[in-house]
């Protein structure tokens, strides 16, 4: 999650709900061939790894005994979280998704440029976190990416670095906290942002603080910053493959919670094992980088 998103989300708290017997959403066209290629890449880059198999013992999230159902996930703020899950669902349907869907109707190269620009803006924060995690190799690579993309990539509009095999490996302050032993903590549904953990919440604040202090090209101060936030947030939503209650199931809250928290624990394990992070390029816009 890019640090700039956090305050910017508030700027989107506008709009209303659709009503009537029929509502129609114009979705971006599907691209079967490109989607297939992306799925193949995803499958290839996620070989089934030992970590997923290993954790059938006591629940590492709750730290409780075997008497607790194995699917249990530590969620002491469940009522509040469920409230915000509902709130987010409505916000998403009424405002976030319509805006993101319209954004996705823009020409692909324009979307790719916007996406690359904000990704590049987040690189300095990534570099600092790499250093804090003692991942110096990643830090150097990400610094290289920032330099290459800011210059040859014309202010980050083009992801030249990926084409020169400097692959992206974003990280954040939450991962840094995890690297130094801080547990993800309770599950937390953040208003608008969605599924998270307490550590992720602090991580977002930390990333924003770092980005604000680094203040690339003075973009984090004054009117420029406020103008860029909504675009950044829209780009992020458009590139996030998640839709509340797509499952239609009242059990979705539990499923999402389990998947989110365990995904984070597996990330922590990978970081502790100092395994080389696997890189997944984001969706459509990255397929047309130059």
């Amino acid at each position: 999650m890019r640090a700039r998103a956090l305050p910017g989300l508030a700027a989107l708290l506008l709009g209303g709900c659709a009503s009537g017997p029929l509502t129609v959403h114009h979705l971006p066209p599907q691209t079967p061939a490109a989607d297939n290629a992306a799925a193949v890449a995803l499958a290839a880059s996620n070989p089934f790894q030992n970590a997923a198999d290993a954790k059938d013992g006591p629940d590492v999230v709750s730290g409780r005994s075997a008497a607790v159902p194995p699917m249990h996930t530590y969620d002491p703020w469940e009522r509040m979280n469920r409230f915000f899950y509902r709130f987010n669902t409505r916000f998403d349907e009424a405002i976030f998704l319509p805006v993101a869907n319209n954004y996705q109707r823009l020409p692909a190269p324009l979307q790719a440029g916007v996406h690359n620009f904000f990704d590049n803006l987040a690189e300095p924060t990534t570099v600092i976190n790499d250093v804090l995690q003692l991942q110096l190799h990643s830090g150097l690579r990400n610094l290289g990416r920032f330099i290459v993309n800011s210059t040859l990539g014309i202010g980050g509009l083009f992801d030249v670095a990926t084409r020169t095999r400097l692959q992206s490996s974003p990280t954040g302050f939450s991962a840094t906290l995890g690297r130094w032993g801080l547990h993800p903590g309770p599950y937390l549904v953040i208003p608008i942002l969605g599924p998270s953990t307490l550590r992720d919440g602090f991580g977002l604040l930390g990333d924003y603080g770092l980005a604000y202090e680094v203040n690339v090209a003075d973009l984090y101060r004054g009117a420029k910053g406020y103008a860029l936030w909504p675009i950044d947030v829209t780009d992020q939503r458009a590139n996030t493959d998640f839709r509340y209650y797509a499952s239609g199931s009242p059990f979705e809250y539990e499923t999402t919670r389990f998947l989110y928290v365990h995904r984070e624990l597996l990330e922590d394990e990978a970081l502790h094992a100092k395994s080389t992070p696997t890189v997944i390029n984001r969706k459509a816009p990255d397929t047309v980088t130059h």
Binding site: T31, A51, R82, F242, A246, H262, R263
Partner: protein, 383 residues
């Protein structure tokens, strides 16, 4: 496949819908997806399989194939999808082939009436995969009488013949491959979901689609030789939602207290644990049969089972040249007798591939070519 397929999401309130239980506050509208050709074209309606919404990975494959072949494409959820059960089912108790087909038929009429005005439809064909295949055939048989959609051809892709014998076989497979006992099953689900979480590492994904689920299930079950167990597991995941909704609507009180159903902020964790241990047989015995026996005077458990076989349209399947089917010799939801029955009824209008299991060959070159031949009325012979 076409490079790009336009897509509209339709959210429709059905005027006859019943009050929505609080816990389903997000499922008030029926959701379907439509891809329109810019010129007059036939409409292909595609129905999802058990528990699927109107935009599953398999539906996306079929959408791309059909759109590329020049069809308008409308993809709709299975009557066993929770969103359909809540927004469009007349009973809330999914699994009755005829009732579910009637409900979907009514919903389809409204959906087609609400397609964009500029859509020019020259013909209507109906397809469905897995359980959706059986629904498609029964819906056409209803439409043959009522003529409200004027459905021309129907294609069943890997359909069951007998709903409850198919799912009984899946129960058996599940027990054989996975074992029974609540703690064992719960541990299995934990391994499955942990696999999924691992699949999603370094992506921002936390939802489940069929492809991910099959990958995770294959790894957890280590059942390369017997993919049937993976199919059984994926069906069982769908059962959790069907069972919950059925119990809630029928008031049978198995996991939902009819007098105090869970509210929107209540945890469903314990109910989920219980439901994951339930079999299809449990659903039939505890929810489905009590509901339908009470609502269909004169019916018996045996008659309910018999009503859920494709036999109810056997004559039509045998004599109407517009019904087609495609399946596989090794599909785990069909017994040898089921397959023989399909062959006997459909004659040259069925194609049976040697391999592919349950939908494993969907989208493959030969399957796609045969499907389009059948739809276009050019199909010559089966194998």
């Amino acid at each position: 496949m076409p490079a790009s397929v336009p897509l509209l999401e339709l959210n429709l309130s059905l005027p006859w819908a019943r009050p929505v239980p609080a816990i389903y506050w997000f499922d008030r509208r029926l959701r379907a997806w439509f891809s329109a050709q810019p010129h007059p074209a036939p409409l292909a309606i595609v129905i999802a399989g058990t528990g699927g919404d109107g935009n599953t990975a398999k539906l996306s494959t079929l959408r791309a194939v059909l759109y590329g072949a020049g069809y308008h494409v409308l993809t709709v959820p299975s009557p066993t999808f929770p969103g359909f059960i809540v927004s469009a089912s007349s009973t809330g108790v999914a699994g009755d082939l005829k009732q579910d087909s009637q409900d979907l038929y009514a919903a389809l009429q409204l959906l087609v009436a609400h397609l964009p005005r500029r859509t020019q439809i020259t013909d209507v064909d109906l397809l469905g995969y897995s359980l959706g295949g059986a629904h498609a055939a029964v819906i056409k048989s209803i439409d043959d009488v009522e003529r409200k959609l004027k459905i021309h051809r129907v294609i069943m892709i890997n359909p069951p013949v007998s709903l409850f014998s198919s799912i009984g076989r899946l129960d058996e497979l599940f027990t054989l491959s996975i074992g029974s006992g609540d703690s064992g099953v719960e541990q299995l689900y934990k391994r499955l979901y942990t696999r999924l979480a691992n699949l999603y590492r370094r992506s921002n994904k936390v939802t489940i689609d069929e492809t991910d689920l099959y990958s995770a299930a294959s790894a957890v079950l280590r059942s390369d030789a017997d993919f049937s167990a993976v199919i059984a597991l994926s069906f069982r995941l769908s059962l959790v939602d069907v069972f919950y909704a059925g119990d809630l609507y029928a008031g049978t009180g198995i996991v939902v207290d009819p007098t105090h159903p869970p509210g929107v902020g209540d945890s469903l964790e314990q109910i989920g644990v219980v439901l994951r241990g339930k079999t299809f047989a449990d659903y039939f015995r505890d929810v489905f049969a009590p509901y339908y026996l009470a609502h269909r005077p004169g019916s018996t458990a045996a008659s309910l089972l018999a009503d859920n076989r494709l036999d109810i349209i056997a004559d039509t399947l045998e004599h109407n040249p517009d019904y087609f089917a495609m399946t596989n010799n090794d599909d785990p939801i069909l017994s040898a007798e089921d397959l023989a029955w399909l062959r006997a009824k459909l004659g040259s209008r069925i194609v049976v591939y040697d391999h592919g299991g349950h939908l494993g060959n969907l989208g493959e070159r030969q399957q796609v070519a045969d499907l389009l031949e059948m739809l276009a009325g050019r199909w010559q012979s089966g194998t």
